[in-house]
């Protein structure tokens, strides 16, 4: 019983130029775990999700969602069609 949690971690990490290794060290996990989360192969605990959000200074819902994220350009420029 596990629901897919979608995330924007890879995108935000690339945007902030943060490596998996340094993010992993900052939140106290193995760097592979960051890769697993990005690939959707592991859903982080609330504790870890909050730590990652805090690291980037973003609300948790900016990084993790139960619904698939819309492309960022759609959100910024307001395209309504998928």
């Amino acid at each position: 019983m596990s629901e897919q949690v979608h995330n924007r971690l890879a995108m935000v990490r690339a945007e902030r130029k943060v490596s998996r290794q340094s993010l992993a060290e900052a939140v106290g996990v193995h760097y592979q775990t960051i890769g697993y989360i990005e690939r959707g192969q592991y859903n982080p605990s609330l504790d870890l999700a909050l730590k990652i959000s805090k690291f980037f200074g973003l609300p948790v819902e900016a990084l993790f969602s139960l619904e698939p994220f819309r492309p960022l350009t759609d959100e910024v420029y307001g395209r309504n069609q998928p």
Partner: protein, 176 residues
Amino acid sequence: MTTTRLTRYDRSMLRLMNDRRGAAWYATAARRRLTVAAHVTLTVALGGLMTHLFLAEGEPLWTIAAMGALLLPWMVATGVINIATRGLLELRERVLDERQSAERSRVLALAHRATTLLLAAAVLGLLAAGMAAGHAPKAYAGPVLIAVLVVHWLMPLWVAGLRAQDEPTEDDLVQA
């Protein structure tokens, strides 16, 4: 993963298990499967030689020499599987992060299920042998028990080796 209470041993094991120098050995699923298959084969061969040495009263010299020759590749294969899993079973629980702890529990549960089936098969085999020849269970119980014990010990390693996944692709855009 707790970083405050790690001992020197924990830190050295963590470094060892995350040493990437032998990464080519376990880079793909096919190579990991091959390593696990080699480890199983070597374990069976070592078990066979031990049985020959102790139970069949074989000539000790060549048997011990053969066991010595097989022991080194067996240890290398054990090390490769352990490093491929990043020390999933070797590191202490406090060194693992939440995903690794969950994966360790899953591996142990799967291995437990597999060895339960193996134990049931061994018991049924002994009972069947007993029906065919009355003395068989008594004669074979010892070696079968030892074989099952060895498999019970090593099954988590094999399961972990087979469940290990490829390294996430390096993100070229993001450099530390």
